[in-house]
Symmetry: D2
Subunit: 337 residues, 4 copies
């Protein structure tokens, strides 16, 4: 942490700042230039609510020198993580394909979809049992019953499973049936929930919030890891911008940025990012080319009758074509699936 004083800050105001941080257990390092004075802080920042320093007289800015996330930080853990999920893992030499319907609708559906996506190359089946919906009048999911159908589909096919959780109750239910928990975009900063999934020890897919910076996202991952659960996978699913041609704007740059900052795997969800079926395949290729460790794709046995997000779901045939088309891109990235 570096405190930049305003040009012309008085000696008294400099002394006031130094006294305050010294009282709070920091050592300081003073650098007086002709233009400005800079005070470097040495010590454990977690003890200081340094933001308050902004209102001290003469203080111009605070410059953070180190990131606030530690356990998710590549600096302290340079080797890319490999996260085991059921019989498979997400990590550096795999291209993990997670596929399935937005919402679990019934027993047959999960079985049919599981078989179809497995055949095309997916290793994890997705399906929502607890659905966060903008309107209270939309379909809210089957709850625990949906999770059971996922488990059956998993047992029949050997696929690993992932499902979204939205509350302690759903975490407890999901932990009994599925291999990986998903935190949705709307809950990325539901810190209470992050701690709960942290406590389960199960692998967690942490979707990026609609308007979350990469820095906030890594801090959210830190919440999970700091509960003793290092099994976090990040999922870029589009951010909110002014553009309306797509539902969200896929921030493809987040992939190389994350590869520089964290050891955690990164997957991309082009279905939610765009909300439009015809953009899913080009963006899936694009994500692999940018360095993604996997993809999450919505696939439905009958998109026109899907209870949610049908417009962005692929049919089995479309999904099979996608996996065929992306295979050479996976090879260029030296990843197998």
């Amino acid at each position: 942490m570096v405190i930049v004083m305003k040009p012309g800050a008085s000696d008294a105001s400099i002394k006031h700042v130094i006294d305050y941080v010294t009282e709070n257990g920091f050592q300081t390092h003073l650098s007086k230039g002709t233009e400005t004075t800079i005070i470097g802080l040495i010590g454990d920042k977690s003890k200081l609510n340094y933001d308050n320093l902004k209102i001290f007289e003469g203080v111009d800015k605070l410059v953070q020198v180190t990131e606030s996330y530690k356990l998710a930080n590549k600096k302290f853990h340079p080797k890319p993580s490999k996260i085991k999920v059921g019989n498979t893992y997400i990590g550096p030499d795999n291209l993990t394909i997670m596929a399935g319907p937005c919402a679990v609708e019934n027993e047959d559906q999960m079985m049919i979809v599981a078989e179809a996506v497995k055949k095309a190359g997916a290793t994890i089946i997705r399906g929502g049992a607890y659905k966060p919906r903008t309107s209270p009048y939309s379909f809210q999911g089957l709850g625990e019953e949906g999770l059971k159908y996922m488990k059956e589909a998993s047992e029949a096919t050997g696929l690993a499973t992932i499902s979204e959780v939205i509350s302690l109750e759903s975490v407890n239910a999901a932990a009994k049936y599925v291999d990986m928990l998903q935190i949705g975009a709307r809950n990325m900063q539901n810190f209470y929930l992050l701690k709960e999934v942290g406590r389960t020890g199960l692998p967690v897919l942490l979707k990026r919030g609609l308007s979350s910076t990469i820095d906030e996202w890594l801090n959210a991952a830190e919440y999970i890891i700091s509960e003793g659960n290092p099994n976090v996978v990040l999922c870029e699913r589009g951010i909110r911008t002014f553009e309306t041609a797509t539902r969200n704007t896929l921030d493809i740059s987040a992939v190389p940025v994350l590869k520089e900052r964290t050891h955690l795997p990164v997957v991309v969800d082009p279905s939610h990012a765009t909300g439009v079926r015809s953009y899913v395949t080009p963006l899936a290729k694009s994500a692999i080319a940018a360095g993604a460790d996997g993809l999450m794709i919505e696939v439905h046995n009958d998109p026109a009758k899907a209870l949610s997000d049908g417009a962005q779901s692929l049919t089995f045939e479309q999904f099979e074509n996608l996996t065929k088309e992306i295979r050479p891109y996976a090879e260029l990235s030296k990843r197998t699936f």
Copy 2:
């Protein structure tokens, strides 16, 4: 709901759409122009997952004619709501001032702050006992103990109290001690939590999500009201944009927009919106001039030592000046405080 077909859509594709919606219990009204064909739907839309229609051949757009929120909608409830909170209420002829520290820090502090803000004109004291913080290493709040301090401060001063909830556990605790529950921006679409606060029947302050549209916000209010709790107050606290001169961008237009669309009261939080102390007073005036029913202001006995958000907190003296300065604006709006 109106379905606009693409120019040149075939008769077969028009028929396919009509058959589908008819099967789902709708009547249709067909309008064939030279340029395009339009299909109007008559019936209960909540039964149809109409978004899927986008992938039907020949469909160009879906146009919503009616809003998805009903209970929060001014069309069906033209009279502005008046929400009772403790001994006071939020609504058309009041200007409600909620003030207090970002986080409850100790017993003495709450008492001192309560007395000071009461003296200056506040009728509700705020204070966070469960704090959602970006980093897991920041101060997370005192929990139930903090709520007790609030209750004591309330008993001593007669002020009503408000505190943020973040989980079922905190809802249950808060319901025992405070008069109004707050849903923070990060939890605006935590639908599980919305239902829980809905069930308490207590008045709820629903802060706008960082990147939530006004429409999504009103749908979030609908979640609470549809649990049988009509006591919802909306709080504009800034949205996320590209501008960095302020922490967020206060969307002042949201006030007149909401006054047109909903009967629920609207308060503005200039402290969180800007994150800068010197902008709080001009924006407080601005909010009243735009039609706000109240203000939420961060006030701290010693901002430099605040455990969170000190940089945006006012001292007692600054807060007293603020209430003096806004009084003539309240009068112009024919509101008392």
Copy 3:
């Protein structure tokens, strides 16, 4: 300028940075902490393309200590500017109302509108003769003919006039007929045009770009002033965000932020900011309460027949009501109009 080195940057990389900036005519001030090393630069930054330093080995960040705009900066010119426009001026104790149609349509119209807006309290009439329109097939303005109509209206009423310029040709034409030139949002960073209006010496209304930061805006003002023309007035007209309830999002906080950073007057245009007639009056009040020096309002003799932007234009009666309603707010701000 302060260069923050990465934790653990080698002595060689520190030396490399120091040698480079020294060669470029700077003195340095080195501060070695245990956590990090900081290099302060002393000298004329305009000689150094310092951004390049980011790719020097070991460099973590560059921190700007001083703003890049000087002539627009309040630090060097603490007294608020007063800008003369025709017979009136824009500045600290005036509330300037600029009103008129989006586009000049014909001679009669300008005369009728000028009389009506003068009667209601406006001192400057606006009207576009060169219209930047999103589609090439929309009405593009009357050009020089339109400017003549403005001059006639000005001579008949004594109102000052303002019109938008979009090219050297239009600058030359406008300089002959109107009292103030307007740079539209889409041209805020058309630096060539900024220099041209700078050279005229005429007062300039500089609208904020749709996605321009306040810092970029002040740098755009600097382009005009650095040509020897200090007569710049800033106009907040909404920024682009994800919200669609209003055409743009009025950044009301920009008013107090600018009041802190610059001596230039600030006016607000609620008509373009919202695009909706019913929001214009509440936001006009709001702008005055926030500290604005004036308003720009679209008024049309027959909005339903306006050749552009009719939906946001006020009728004469609505405009008269607006000026009546804002008068007490102007008084609270100790401004006259």
Copy 4:
């Protein structure tokens, strides 16, 4: 164009709308449902300033059925365009690499860079002679002298050339020396300039505005084409969002969206999109995988000494590695370079 009336709109207000549009030369097609009434318009919309209809009593929304751009529209020109530039072309089976420094700095530099980028596979050399810079105190370019150096470099190597124009004067100068004109992001809606480059008939690279929607971008292209110049190439270079890890947010989805809506070629500029050297290569691959027709890459002989944008420029060696790494991606897209 479809006019959706509010639920319960009176017969009088419906008649008023119909009368108005009939007077303006339209035929109407009325559709009365139980929920709402819809009025379809048949006729030449360019004759009607339909936006005004929003303020007619009883009108709820206007729904555009057809796009406002025609010449840029794929519907009327389904075959992808092939744009000749010097000895090369941009279009469906080529992967065009444009490379070179942000700004032309001197004669030797252009020659050295031209040879290096040609060797690595570029077919067009870029270089700015007229630089739009945020601050008036930054380097503004060499002007016509810089264009001459580009021409010399072109004659020596056979590379085609591209340079940015910012005014009529610079258009006239550039037309004498270079093969392709560039409109920068800040000038995307400088409609005056768009018409001027349209009149030259030269190929134009139209960069996307920082906060322009894809629809506005295609309308800007329409300005150029409607002057009789169909040689327009679109360049995605990042949009402005809240994320600060990259300078802008590369909107990779724009590539497939544009491929669906227009016949014009699309290139991607990962250098300006991110502002960070290490992200250029992964995003270059990503752009090709998404379907881009080419890349624009900043390359400098000595980035640390570049007069502008050094931090995002590649060295010759880095650029050569980039072209090697992207070659297999070009092959997968069946493009040659």
